[in-house]
């Protein structure tokens, strides 16, 4: 996978685990993905209103808002935005609910980085 081959993907990464968001953002930018970081649901919604994103990665378990509620709002604001959900192990039921509400796919945390990249690219392709 060449980092300059494709058009830069604009990604919204939503997770309240700051350390995780920061390192993932750094690694993604090295792979030609433009990451906008959001540490809470509110920040994510703000960012979504300001910028157009190709893909969003959303942690279902955050302190300020329920992941599914954020997903619903996402879909209201940008119905076409593919959303990849991150769930804790054993919360697959919530993730399956997310699919029902229009999420693109889900991964269980902690997920393999390369797998996440593959999923993001799939979602991006799907969106085009």
């Amino acid at each position: 996978m060449s980092k300059h081959a494709d058009k830069q993907i604009k990604l919204l990464l939503v997770d309240d685990e700051k350390g995780f968001v920061d390192v993932i953002a750094k690694r993604m930018s090295k792979r030609n993905i433009d990451v906008t970081k959001a540490y809470s649901g509110t920040e994510a919604l703000k960012a979504l209103r300001m910028t157009d994103f190709d893909v969003a990665v959303l942690d279902l378990k955050m302190e300020d808002m329920d992941g599914i509620e954020i997903l619903k709002l996402f879909k209201k604001i940008v119905p076409d935005l593919p959303v990849i959900m991150l769930t804790g192990h054993g919360s697959e039921a919530a993730a399956r609910d997310g699919i029902k509400f229009g999420a693109f796919d889900y991964l269980t945390k902690p997920c393999d980085f390369e797998e996440l990249i593959v999923k993001i690219k799939e979602a991006y392709q799907h969106q085009i």
Binding site: E17, G19, F20, V23, I24, K26, R27, K30, G88, H89, G90, K109, P110, C111, F113
Partner: protein, 565 residues
Amino acid sequence: MAPAKNKNNGYYRLLTRKMILTIIIVSFTPMILVSSFILYQFRISYHEKLQAHLKELVLKQKQNIDSFLKEKLGDIRFLAETFCCEELSDESFLQDRLEMLQQEFGPVFVDLGVVNERGIQVAYAGPFRLGKAIYADADWFKQAMISKYFISDVFLGLRGLPHFIVTVRDNWKGELWILRATIDFVAFNTLVQNIRIGETGFAYILNREGELQTKPFFDLTPRKKPYRDFLKIKEDDPQKVHMIEKKDESGKKNIYVAAFLKNGDWLLVYQQNARDAYLDLNRAIGIAIIIVLLGAFGIIFTAVILSKRMVNRIVMADEEKDMMNKQIIETGKLASVGKLAAGIAHEINNPVAIMVEEAGWIKDLLEDEEFRESENLDEFERALKQIKTQGQRCKEITHKLLSFARKTDSRIQETEINDVIDEIVALSEQRAKYGKISIHTDFQKDLPSTYLAQSEMQQVLLNLINNAIDAMENEGGTLDISTRLDSDAIVIQVADDGPGIPESNLPRIFEPFFTTKPVGKGTGLGLSICYGIIQKMGGEITVDSIVDSGTTFRIRLPVKGPPER
């Protein structure tokens, strides 16, 4: 399951005793009250009836005897009043009269005699040679001269045989004379002797001096008490019958019924041993007492058996309740541990993910030109790979914990037995490793899923595996866990090659509170709870064990569909 001997034994013994006592009191009280009341009433009325009967009998006999005497006296009076002294003084005439009387009344009249006022028998008809006999000094003669009619006491007289006489005094030409007749003692005696009731009831006649006037059926000493008491009675009402119950000299209680005869000169006494008189009553009371005793024995027997059975049931119910409580506590503990584990797993996941990603970031950076030439590049890459591998390991551990926690749910749900075993084995592996025990699993791949409470299944498996590890901890060993489908049932086998269970303990290992572990180490509830859980699931758990060779637990679970709602 045999009732366990535990500290509650005293309580159950007390309960048994209380139940027995209550049943006995509740049953005995009415039985004894009713029987005593009935017996008491029966006894009183029986006594009254018997006394009335005896009084009636004596009164009737008294009337019989009185009328006998009156009749005889009447006969003699008739002779004396019909014929004059001169006629009767003719011995052949007198003989004719005697024969006539004997023809009329039988041999009751023994002889007839005419006695003048000087006491000389002027004429005599009868079997004895008593002509011209002198009675001037005889008691009877003296009394006969005083009253117009006289019946003597029984005496021996000149003939030397017991007899009594009836006399009528009359006047002939200014001179008193007496017609006397001897009454056959045997005939008279028979009248009285015939009164016989039971074995000891008999009658006799006494005069005022307490001398026997008839020959009693049994020997007696009439001058002693209680006859004297009767003789002291002054007759007021000739129809009156007296009755007393007294002990005689030999200490036996007797009933005495007496009535005066012959205008109070004689006393007719009927005497019967009280025991004999009340024989029927006593027999009835005896039978009643035997019945009551048998009933009492029956009640006691039933009370003991019933109470023991009931208490045994209570013991069993209490034990079951106890076991269920323990099981609930154990299940609760497992659920708490599960929740705790899940919490920890979630918390650990994030830092581990960050660590792994940071390592990934370093790896990304190492790909830049400036680091490519570094002499330690290989070593960096090895370290990063190691971080990734260990991160992956952490992930697996937390996943296992989370899977375990998810199944601490006691709801019945679709379950893959192999998965449940896998998770438990994963959790136990570390402990097994410390004890040099290797766990081998051999699962049948296409086992059907079944519906059960996963937390309970976890508890059973954890128990069996922990027991096996406990048993092999010192020496090390192998634990083989396998599953297979046998017709409609899933068979889980947990086999160790530890020290085994002695044959004497085998039948008891599923009993509650049975343990061979040191005090404080085991409650003795583990296997009994397993037994209870598997039974509840409709399955069975069995054990085979050979000392020094190993123990195998086999669980047979029916494959079940979803529970009906």
